[in-house]
Amino acid sequence: MTDNTIAQPEAAGMNFEYGENQKMVADMCRDFAEREITPFRREWDETQEFPVPLFKKMGELGLMGVLVPQEYGGAGFTYFEYVAAIVEISKADGAIGLSMAAHNSLCTNHILTFGNEEQKKKWLPKLATAEWIGAWGLTEPNTGSDAGNMKTVAKEDGDHYVLNGAKNFITHGKSGNVAVVIARTGETGDSHGMTAFVIEKGTPGFKAGRKEDKLGMRASETTELIFEDCRVPKENILGKVGEGFIQAMKILDGGRISIAALSLGIAKGALEASIAYSKERQQFNKPISSFQGIAFKLADMATKIEAAELLTYQAAALKHAGKPMTKESAMAKYMASEVAVEVSTEAIQIFGGYGYTKDYPVEKHYRDSKLCTIGEGTSEIQKLVISRALLK
């Protein structure tokens, strides 16, 4: 799978062009988004509808199990095609990109990376085809950035663990059919005191709580998860007892690549819309793109996007090569998400008053972009991760 992907950074001549597979995947996602996403995105956004049937269609195409090997029903692709796919989907609708990223990178990838053979056989085929939608629960109402201090507890009871507590801001908390949940099995403050459980919908004592009413990413469902004496069999533990938090940090390292891709998609969508609009909109009898004040904005936007893209592919290449990439994926996520916010802010400026209305998509890019500097670790937390790596 190396010949069809972009060259690794350590390769002699760096090749920054999409490989044939990436290009085909990107084309496929663009065609799909044009037909199945763009015409409906405004309605989903306004009504906060999480479009489950869309995700089933994405499952048929292989977009819900991009990284899952074919033997478990997935597409068996690499991070390179995965990034290309999220970028294209997110260009059309960041909320769909976010849900796709959370399903693939968090829930599915946690089972793929840390599950045993039996667990992989049990859940991956359902997740990879979107027969089931997956959720991943780490954050709690009182512990976001400080997730290691979580309060949800899991107490051993015979061949089960009994969970009590609540998770917050969980993507697909209500519509998800299965969730990977990290809960405390040891002492507070002990990073080896947490464990990852797979919990299926319908398990007694497990339910979704309130659905958030959000600024952006409104088609992506975000809810509470509540555990009341929820009994989970021991065979649903991923990896070893006590390893859940360490696993979660590793999963987030990869997940950040997908949030960087999501950010890139939003930024690229905003830039494409801005280029097209600036060539059409006339003021003072000229297209506004002929004013340097506007053209230079476009130049800045494009340059920032490409820089963020290179960081993203650097992290993807390291991940692909199985090398450490905690710092690089944090850099990619930090940079790309901040660029998404800057670019979509400038896009509104280029559109002027029209950009402030719902007649054009840039106001949605603007609202959606802001999640990227928050979810899967805020920008501040990314800087913490990066600086720790520098100073260690």
Binding site: N21, M28, G62
Partner: protein, 245 residues
């Protein structure tokens, strides 16, 4: 059933068209190439027929090496193998001769293609191929069902629709709504890499046309909006500016 689907490699409909080499060549810089949209319908129907009742779908393109990504896309959509005739598709007659040569050798039960390409929009290849093979040719086919050796198809005719029955083999030029365009899935994209794409040198053939140069149509004028109550102004403009009345 063995189906041959002939596909063109054409600029995307949103491409900005310009020419190079003294206006004798399409300037392909920055142009996105796609499977001809009508060919894409033919391919989608061929894959559906194969999925329903078995058989194979072979895609055929007459083109130089740069068409291979387009051919791979057809393989990703569900064709089983592909043949590329390594030659620039100079004109309809040349292309038809190449297709006929492949078809003669391959003994296909059905030869499908778009009703026309969207670059030159000649719409002649299916007829020529059928003539060269001594087969019936039908176009534009909007519905195609096969039952054993017999096909039922309907096509658009001047002012109406015609439904016909035909024995295999034959040649059909297709258009929507014969099938819905298929978006390749990720497995298809993965498997497209390992499917056979055979490159053949062109058969001896004649080119009956010679290209002098291309010319772009005059740019479209701006749209003038006239108030619905101002009929006099409309008449004045139609008379003096558009000069149509």
């Amino acid at each position: 059933m063995k189906i041959l689907v002939c596909i063109t490699h054409v600029p995307d409909t949103t491409s900005k068209i310009s020419f190079s080499d003294n206006n004798t060549k399409l300037n392909s810089a920055g142009v996105q190439f796609i499977i001809g949209p009508y060919d894409d319908y033919a391919l989608a129907r061929a894959v559906e027929l194969k999925e329903a009742s078995g058989g194979t779908v072979t895609v055929l393109n007459v083109g130089e090496a740069d068409t291979e990504p387009t051919i791979r896309k057809a393989l990703a959509i569900g064709a089983d193998d592909a043949i590329r005739i390594n030659a620039f598709p100079t004109d309809s007659y040349f292309v038809a001769q190449q297709i006929a040569a492949v078809a003669k050798e391959g003994n296909y039960d059905l030869i499908l293609m778009g009703r026309e390409s969207i670059d030159f929009n000649g719409g002649m290849v299916h007829g020529m191929v059928a003539e060269m093979l001594g087969l019936p040719s039908v176009s534009p086919v909007m519905k195609l069902d096969i039952d054993g050796g017999k096909a039922t198809l309907s096509r658009e005719i001047e002012g109406g629709k015609e439904t016909l029955e035909l024995n295999l083999p034959f040649v059909a030029g297709c258009q929507e709504p014969i099938a819905e365009w298929k978006i390749p899935n990720m497995r298809g994209i993965m498997s497209a890499r390992t499917k056979k794409l055979e490159v053949r040198e062109p058969a001896q053939a004649e080119t009956k046309t010679k290209l002098d140069n291309y010319e772009l149509p005059a740019p479209k004028g701006e749209v003038k909006m006239i108030d619905k109550d101002n009929v006099d102004e409309l008449v004045r403009l139609l008379k003096n500016e558009a000069k149509v009345i």
